[in-house]
C-alpha cells in the first residue's frame, strides 16, 4: 500500500453536508475493481475498499512489505509477524505468498499490479500526482508511493475533493512536490468520480444533489461532464 505522508489522509469530518461518506467512496471504488485483479490499497481511505470486495471477485491484495493475498484483520490470535504496509496486524488468505522487498517492488515496478489506489494532496488535470510531501524542508517520507505511481497498471486516487481550508485538490498544476507525472487515471472524491482524460477531468458521477456548477466551484481546473 502507498506509504504516503500522513497529510494525504482525508480530514475526519466533511466540510460540506453534500457528498458521499468514506464508506460510500470505498464501495464505489470496489465496484470498479475487476475479477482476478491484484490490487494495492494505500494507507488511509483506500484501505476501506477491502471491506467492500465480494469474495467471488477473487481480488488479491498486495502489501508492498511482502504479502500477496492480504486478508482481513484477525478476529482472534493475531500473528504479529503478519503486518501490512500501514504496520497493522492483518491475516493472509489461503493462496497467499510471502515475498521479499526486492521481489515485491519488482512486482510493482514491473507492471504486475493491476491497480494501485492511493490518497493524495493534489491531482492535476494531466494526471500529475502529489501525495508525498508538502514541504521538502521538513523531513520527507516517500515510502513506496513513487514506485506504485509509475508501476501500477492503473492508478486511482481517493481523496476529499477540497482541503480542510476549502482549497481545491483537483488542480491545473500541482503546487506540492510531485510523486509522479501523468499517472493518475481516475479520482474518487466525496463529491464526484472523475476520469483523467487528454482533455482534463471528466465527472463520471456526482454526489446526489450536487450540480456540475457546484462541483466546478470546488475544483481548481475545468471539469466537464461526459456528454460534453
Amino acid at each position: 500500500m502507498a506509504t504516503t505522508g500522513s497529510g494525504a489522509a482525508a480530514p475526519a469530518s466533511h466540510a460540506t453536508s453534500i457528498g458521499w461518506t468514506r464508506a460510500d467512496m470505498a464501495r464505489r471504488v470496489a465496484r470498479d475493481i475487476g475479477r482476478g485483479w491484484t490490487v494495492n490499497l494505500g494507507i488511509g481511505i483506500p484501505t476501506l475498499v477491502a471491506d467492500h470486495l465480494p469474495a467471488e471477485r477473487c481480488v488479491t491484495l498486495h502489501s508492498e512489505n511482502g504479502i500477496l493475498g492480504v486478508g482481513p484483520k484477525p478476529e482472534s490470535d493475531p500473528d504479529p509477524w503478519i503486518i501490512n504496509a500501514g504496520k497493522e496486524v492483518v491475516t493472509v488468505v489461503p493462496g497467499a505468498s510471502y515475498i521479499h522487498h526486492a521481489d515485491s517492488f519488482a512486482i510493482i515496478r514491473g507492471g504486475h499490479i493491476d491497480l494501485s489506489v492511493m490518497g493524495a494532496f493534489e491531482v492535476a488535470s494531466n494526471g500529475d500526482l502529489a501525495n508525498w510531501a508538502t514541504d521538502l524542508n521538513r523531513a520527507p517520507a516517500v515510502g513506496g508511493a513513487m514506485d506504485l505511481a509509475v508501476g501500477a497498471r492503473k492508478l486511482w486516487v481517493m481523496m476529499e475533493h477540497v482541503t480542510r481550508a476549502g482549497e481545491p485538490r483537483l488542480v491545473a498544476a500541482c503546487r506540492y512536490p510531485l510523486t509522479a507525472s501523468a499517472v493518475v487515471t481516475r479520482v474518487y472524491t466525496d463529491l464526484a468520480t472523475l476520469d483523467v482524460t487528454p482533455d482534463g477531468f471528466v465527472a463520471l458521477e456526482m454526489a446526489p444533489g450536487l450540480s456540475l456548477e457546484a462541483l466546478q466551484s470546488r475544483t481548481g481546473t475545468p471539469v466537464r461532464s461526459p456528454s460534453e
Binding site: 471491506d51 470486495l53 465480494p54 469474495a55 477473487c58 488479491t60 493462496g95 519488482a106 507492471g111 508501476g151
Partner: protein, 253 residues
C-alpha cells in the same frame, strides 16, 4: 531422499469476504486468481500468433515445457523469435520447431551443444538469425523486463565481440556495457506444483529459467506436473506467485 517442497494448508476461504474453494479428487479447482486452468493444450495456447517472441524455459531437457512446445508446433504459427538458453537437440521439440522453418530468430546463450544439428545446419546455411547473449545477461535482461528496469550496466562481455555497438561506461574503474530489458509476447514454462491461486513451485534444477521468464512475458502459460486439489502451497515456499501466471495445464508426473 529430500522432503517434498512446501507444506499445504487446508482448503478454505479466500478474499476479503469468504468463498469456499472445493473440488473433487479429480476435478481441477476453480481458479481464484489470474491464472485459468485449461483442460487441453489447444486451450492453453489459444491466441498464439505468427511473429510472436516466445520464451521457453528449461536448461537442456530439465524444466523444459515439452508438451507446450509440441502444442506450439501443432498451432502452425511461424516467423517466431525464440528466447531460450539452448537451441534444441535432436529432431524433436524445439529442434523440430526450427526444422519446420517456424523460427526466424533465436536469442540464447548456448545454441551449439551435443545434438544441436538442426540449429547448426540452419545457421550455417544462413537460414536463421542468432543473437548470442551471455547466460547471466540473458537472465538479467529477463529479470529487468519483469522488474520494470528498461536498461542496466554490466561488466559482463565488456571488451568482447558481444559488446560491439553497445554503450560503454566505466563504474569504479571497471568497463561496463549497457544492456536492455528483454520482454516476450509469450512464455512457455514448466513447473512442478500449482495451486488454485496459480502459485507455482518447481522441482530441483527444473527451476532454472522458468520463474524469471514468468515475469517477463505478456502471456504466461505453465505446464505443471501436479495441480494441488486439496489445499494451497505453503506461502513461505511459493516460487512464482499466481499473479504472474495466465494459464495452467496439468501434464502429470
Amino acid at each position: 531422499m529430500l522432503a517434498q517442497c512446501g507444506g499445504y494448508v487446508p482448503l478454505g476461504y479466500r478474499g476479503a469476504g469468504c468463498m469456499t474453494v472445493s473440488a473433487g479428487a479429480t476435478d481441477l479447482p476453480p481458479s481464484i486468481g489470474r491464472a485459468r486452468f485449461c483442460t487441453d493444450i489447444g486451450e492453453a495456447l489459444a491466441g498464439v500468433r505468427d511473429a510472436m517472441s516466445v520464451m521457453i524455459g528449461g536448461f537442456g531437457a530439465v524444466g523444459q515445457p515439452d508438451a507446450l512446445i509440441e502444442g506450439l508446433i501443432d498451432t502452425g504459427v511461424t516467423d517466431l523469435t525464440i528466447i531460450a538458453n539452448n537451441a534444441g537437440a535432436g529432431r524433436i521439440g524445439l529442434a523440430r520447431l526450427l526444422e519446420l522453418g517456424r523460427v526466424r530468430r533465436v536469442i540464447c546463450s548456448y545454441p551449439r551443444s551435443p545434438g544441436s544439428v538442426v540449429f547448426e545446419e540452419l545457421y550455417e546455411a544462413g537460414n536463421i538469425e542468432l543473437e548470442i547473449v551471455p547466460q547471466g545477461t540473458l537472465s538479467e535482461r529477463m529479470r529487468a523486463a519483469g522488474a520494470g528496469i528498461p536498461a542496466f550496466f554490466t561488466p559482463t562481455a565488456a571488451g568482447t565481440s558481444i559488446a560491439e555497438g553497445k554503450e560503454v561506461r566505466r563504474f569504479n574503474g571497471r568497463e561496463c556495457i549497457l544492456e536492455t530489458a528483454l520482454h516476450a509476447d509469450l512464455a512457455l514454462i514448466e513447473a512442478w506444483h500449482a495451486d488454485a491461486a496459480g502459485n507455482l513451485t518447481y522441482r530441483a534444477s527444473g527451476r532454472n529459467f522458468n520463474p524469471v521468464m514468468a515475469t517477463a512475458a505478456e502471456l504466461v502459460v505453465a505446464q505443471v506436473h501436479h495441480v494441488e486439489r486439496n489445499g494451497f502451497l505453503n506461502p513461505e515456499a511459493v516460487v512464482t506467485p499466481g499473479l504472474f501466471v495466465d494459464r495452467i495445464i496439468e501434464i502429470g508426473a
